[in-house]
């Protein structure tokens, strides 16, 4: 029941962030899902020792949108992304759900049922990932050019070598790196440049979905802003959709259209970025938003969230956030609250007994 509610909530929601400039295509593309995650559950390990890292998660990424996925370490945000793209190394096991990809033409396909061959062709050409710590995911003994052309050669074997090289140069230009860096090895580039090479590589085949797992965490704020600006511009130019995973909620509020907040393997709140910032419904989102000291405005006394994140091996009964929640009351100890559209604002969804469904 909750799944139906959530799906329609997402479709009727207007994920448009009024504050950020949007191209006409992306506006008309709103509400058309590109990637739909339905009831995904991921375990680490099997049998009685198994730990459920992602629990029955529903998430829809619409065309041309930046969907922010926020949460603390251990909340399952990276596991969700890797589980959905079948990149999860053992002992991670996807135990249920489906991940539907909607191509421009044709019927939706389930990623979790693709054959290895299909998956290989699908990855990178339709969906690419910029990994966590991308700065270290380049091959140290190959030049940037070799790594960029490899991607193209693998997926489009018929292209001529010179064309691939030209495309590699074009990609570097796209992310603001000079052409003469093509022959550099990763260690000759700064952290920010390596990160941009990774982004260029992710865009090499013009995928429709890009998943970014903490792409700027290792960088300084100045470089972070530069890269985020560039991403926003590239997204306008090329029109892909982004799932942006980070623990930095203040960054997400500024750069994403819609934000989903995870806690203890479940999504606890989902709302357009500005609405979430202005009026968060779940006490956890509220706590998270009040964990960042503000750079402007009055200096407030901040408290953070008492306690520590839950241990997935020993989850509290009922709502996972209940032991740390300042507003916990009787029903919270019962069963985990379902993600529903709250009566007060049907344009978003929240999993909290304080906000029952309409």
């Amino acid at each position: 029941m909750s799944s139906e509610n959530v799906m329609s909530a997402q479709k009727s929601a207007s994920p448009q962030n009024p504050a950020s400039p949007k191209s006409p295509e992306s506006t008309t593309g709103q509400g058309h899902p590109v990637l739909e995650i339905r009831g995904l559950s991921v375990d680490y390990g099997v049998g009685p020792q198994a730990v459920r890292a992602v629990n029955d998660v529903h998430l829809t990424l619409n065309r041309g949108e930046v969907l922010g996925l926020a949460g603390e370490s251990g909340s399952g945000k990276s596991t969700l992304a890797y589980g959905a793209t079948r990149l999860l190394p053992p002992p991670g096991v996807v135990t249920g759900g489906s991940v539907l990809y909607h191509p421009d033409d044709g019927d939706p396909v389930d990623l979790l049922r693709m054959t290895p061959g299909e998956l290989r062709a699908f990855r990178w050409s339709q969906l690419s990932i910029v990994f966590q710590g991308a700065m270290n995911s380049l091959n140290p003994v190959a030049t940037v050019a070799a790594q960029l052309t490899d991607v193209i050669a693998e997926h489009r074997p018929k292209t001529a070598k010179a064309d691939r090289m030209a495309r590699a140069a074009e990609l570097l230009a796209l992310v603001g790196i000079a052409r003469d860096r093509l022959d550099s090895y990763p260690h000759q580039l700064s952290g920010g440049m390596r990160q941009r090479v990774m982004i260029a590589m992710a865009l090499a085949l013009e995928p429709r979905v890009v998943i970014m797992d903490e792409p700027t965490t290792a960088l300084d704020v100045v470089m972070q802003r530069q890269i985020m600006r560039q991403l926003a511009k590239l997204k306008e130019q090329l029109g892909f959709s982004v799932i942006f995973i980070t623990h930095d909620l203040s960054l997400l509020v500024e750069f994403s259209d819609r934000i989903a907040i995870m806690y203890g393997g479940r999504i606890v709140e989902q709302a357009p970025a500005v609405e979430l910032y202005d009026n968060s419904l779940h006490p956890y989102s509220d706590g998270l938003l009040h964990s960042f000291p503000a750079l402007r405005g009055p200096r407030r006394e901040l408290t953070g969230i008492p306690g520590s994140p839950p241990d997935l091996r020993d989850m509290p009964a009922g709502c996972a956030f209940q032991p740390r929640c300042p507003k916990a009351f009787d029903p919270c100890g019962g069963s985990p609250p379902p993600l529903v559209r709250p009566a007060s604002d049907p344009g978003r969804s929240v999993a909290c007994y304080l906000h029952p469904s309409a």
Partner: protein, 385 residues
């Protein structure tokens, strides 16, 4: 503001030698990394001083120099007014460590995984001669709000959460009953929801124990929240300093500007469209061969000839007491009477009104103002006291 100075650094300099290999070994002169150059700061009792900068700006090196973990290349470190230089880990170092303690960034790495909390704390207490039995452990854990102590004493680091681990390492630092605490990014490895808990604890300790705290961070918003005074470092040199509120709200140095405007700020979503200008803000320079003059000049939108030639001195800005900046824009000698300050004052006003990124229009406004000021320069000169 006028409380007693505990720890003081003057013209602190640290150069790390670079090992030359192959052909480079034959070239003239040994190369060095200019990690810290001419840094002066003082830590006062009961106050938090934040040191803000990008990675590689030398802020952690400053902390390690102050903790005497590295010998310094030049300058002086004074504790309680007495110049000290400690070498090695002997008696002198122990005496120094009793007064100055350090907290490291990574609580996962700074605690020994094969020892219990009890061992860590007992050892620290015994080394500093303050072990008086079980109750001293209880008291120490009580100070960092890990109560009841019996719940934590027998635990190994892996059994604790990140926040608890960092509290244990704070307790270990407090075991020496120090006068100064050097905290090197104490919360950047912790989960966002528990960072503030640790920062608030540090502030509480500072007040109760009258500690002088150096808080090193790359997050200028947390410096504003936690520190009384903020110093900004760029490429091994200090560029600006003053009261935290003044430095973050009315930054004077172009680099501090860049830093403040780059920090994520959710309030921007309310301030109209976010500015996605193409401006390439560049990258920090190599410290083996740092830029001549002001080290920020290759990235600075307001760079002048003098910036390339000479290193700017500290100049008081004058909008708040003790707000200083090392920038030629503010130097009378560098730009003529009052002119630089005028242009900058106009710039600061613009930024105050618009909270969004306005780097480009900023510069233009400053230029216009500067030109206007130039025209009036003789009058200004006459009017200046």
């Amino acid at each position: 503001m006028t409380s007693e100075v505990v720890l003081e650094a003057e013209a602190l300099t640290k150069h790390f030698p670079v090992r030359a290999r192959g052909r480079a070994a034959l070239s003239r002169g040994p190369k060095v990394v200019h990690a810290v150059d001419d840094v002066s700061l003082s830590l006062r009792r009961g106050r938090v001083t934040a040191l803000v900068g990008e990675s590689g700006s030398g802020k952690s090196t400053v902390a390690r120099l102050l903790a005497q973990l590295y010998p310094r290349t030049g300058g002086d470190i004074r504790i309680g007014g007495v110049s000290t230089a400690v070498k090695g880990g002997g008696r002198h170092f122990k005496a120094y460590a009793r007064r100055v303690q350090m907290i490291f960034q990574d609580p996962f790495a700074s605690l020994n995984p094969v020892h219990t909390v009890r061992h860590h704390l007992t050892r620290a207490l015994k080394i500093h001669g303050r072990y008086t039995g079980e109750e001293s452990l209880d008291e120490l854990l009580g100070r960092v709000q890990l109560t009841p102590a019996s719940l934590y004493l027998e635990k190994y680091p892996h059994e604790l959460s990140g926040g608890q681990r960092q509290r244990v390492s704070i307790a270990r630092a407090l075991a020496a009953d120090p006068e100064a605490l050097l905290a090197d990014e104490p919360v950047s490895m912790l989960d966002v929801s528990i960072r503030l808990g640790v920062l608030n604890l540090l502030r509480d300790l500072k007040e109760r124990l009258d500690l002088a705290v150096l808080y090193i961070t790359h997050d200028i918003a947390s410096a504003r929240y936690f520190a009384d005074e903020t110093l900004v470092m760029y490429a091994g040199r200090m560029v600006e300093g003053g009261d935290s509120e003044t430095v973050t709200q009315r930054p004077a140095h172009p680099y501090t500007h860049l830093l403040v405007h780059s920090a994520p700020d959710p309030e921007r979503v309310r301030g109209g469209p976010a500015p996605y200008d193409d401006e390439d803000t560049g990258e920090p320079p190599s410290l083996i061969d740092p830029p001549s003059g002001c080290r920020f000049h290759p990235r600075c939108p307001k760079a002048m000839d003098v910036c390339r030639a000479r290193v700017p001195e500290r100049t008081l800005v004058g909008d708040a007491p003790d707000h200083w900046v090392a920038c030629w824009l503010f130097d009378d000698e560098g730009k003529g009477e009052g002119k630089g300050t005028d242009a900058e004052a106009a710039d600061i006003e613009t930024t105050d009104i618009e909270t969004t990124d306005i780097e480009i229009s900023d510069v233009e406004a400053a230029d216009v103002e500067a030109a206007a000021a130039e025209a009036q320069a003789p009058e200004l000169e006459g009017a200046a006291p």
